[in-house]
């Protein structure tokens, strides 16, 4: 008897994506499938296009005046660059966590409640309280802040602020979370807590992580994509990429040789 293999469709499918900043070709014909329940790490030297590509996935590049995107990015088979797409709704489905923790200058509670409020996700104060508590719990921060929800988010430590930002991102129930070097400003303990959080979250979301830390990519991602000079050089299982990459350029980059 043979078992049929069920191929899960990708959550996000990028097909022939090009990004230009004016005359600069920042992302060059990148095609990449990203799956639910997986962490995908995007690695590569500075200026290789990985963050630019990441920002295409929820149209953050729309805010840059001379930025032009071509190709297709499908979220559940729907082109996110189609004219009828509501970008605010898109960013609710595809949340983002940035390199530097950027809590609003508001209370811890309001930082998390902000998104659900503007997206109308809570009918009552009790509903909102529930969303805030659950989001902070998922972000592993509840026990540390439950007695001071009215304190400013900016008073938390760097690592706590980053987990607050993750709580803020998941409060609006996204399907995809984009993370742009989320631990680069954190110490090893705070980094470990955020990585533990990413591991726990991966079951419910597609997580795409830009990182300069090879060890971080190796620790928490299931798939890894290596970018160089705007091109996707290699994409595969993380274990394979970090033990036996098929591209010499991937090998040279991850082993600390000049690419």
């Amino acid at each position: 008897m043979t078992m049929a293999t069920v191929q899960t469709p990708p959550k996000i499918s990028a097909q022939g994506v090009n990004v230009f900043y004016g005359d600069t070709h920042a992302v060059d014909n990148v095609s990449l499938d990203l799956y639910q329940d997986e962490v995908t790490a995007l690695i590569g030297p500075s200026g290789c296009g990985k963050s630019t590509f990441l920002r295409c996935l929820n149209r953050m590049n729309d805010t840059i005046a001379d930025c032009r995107v071509s190709g297709q990015i499908l979220l559940d088979d729907e082109d996110i660059y189609a004219s009828q797409i509501d970008v605010v709704q898109l960013r609710a489905r595809v949340g983002m966590v940035f390199q530097k923790p950027n809590p609003f200058p508001k209370s811890i509670y309001d930082n998390v409640a902000y998104g659900p409020r503007i997206h109308g996700l809570a009918d009552t104060r009790e509903d909102l309280d529930e969303i805030v508590a659950v989001s902070l719990e998922k972000a592993g921060l509840w026990d540390e802040v439950k007695d001071r929800l009215d304190h400013l988010g900016t008073t938390l430590s760097g690592g706590q602020q980053q987990r607050l930002c993750i709580a803020r991102a998941i409060a609006i129930d996204p399907e995809v979370i984009l993370m742009d070097e989320p631990c680069s400003a954190l110490d090893p303990i705070a980094t470990a807590k955020v990585e533990a959080l990413i591991e726990e979250l991966k079951g419910g979301y597609a997580i795409i992580l830009v990182t300069h830390s090879m060890q971080q990519a190796a620790r928490i991602s299931q798939k890894t994509a290596f970018f160089h000079l705007g091109q996707l050089i290699e994409f595969g299982d993380t274990t394979q990429i970090f033990t036996s990459p098929t591209s010499g350029r991937t090998r040279d980059y991850i082993t600390g040789r000049l690419v």
Partner: protein, 232 residues
Amino acid sequence: MTSHILKSYDQELDELKTMVSQMGGLAEEQLDKAMRALHSCDFDLVDEVVASDVQLDQMERDVEQLSMTMFARRAPLADDLREIVAAIKMTTLIERMGDHAKNIGKRARDMALEGPFTVPPLLDSMANEAKMMVSNVIDAYVRRDADAAVDVWEHDEHLDSLHSAASRDILSRMMDAPETMNFMTHHLMIAKNLERIGDQATNVAELVHYAITGRELDQRNTTSAPSITDDA
């Protein structure tokens, strides 16, 4: 393959490689001395073989120590990771080769003390084959030559055939002259030692192939084309 940006990383990898290849050379020399001791009944040579074994044990520990340091300090990946893991495993195998050579040396002394004996020619053939495998696999490692590692790996079959022939020959001599049973038992055990050295050289060949190509060398896959696609 280009150099690491951190030169000290390359220096450590070179040091590791030198230590492993020196171990291989020492094991090969130890086997050569053990076989010469067998023919000449030279107890000084036996002492040298036993002393080499102590040296191999120390070198194995040195390689382990350097590898641990590199894991901790360099967090090696890809080719570097395979290189270091292979080095640790290779030194264990080479140290075992040394154990077998030492056993041959000790048997040479035991037999010499029992009286005169003749070494069956097939034991020499086996020893030459085993020495060649050890030498070639260390060369393959130093030159990063996956094809040469495959050659060594494929050679094991020949040594196994020689082992079967040697065992049959020794048993036949034992039946023809039962009074030589003690010597022949020693010879059988020496044949087994030589066969095991060949097995270990074969296992080293698998590690060398894996370190170079990133692919396992087994019955289903004997090709050795490099896995890297866009090297300069």
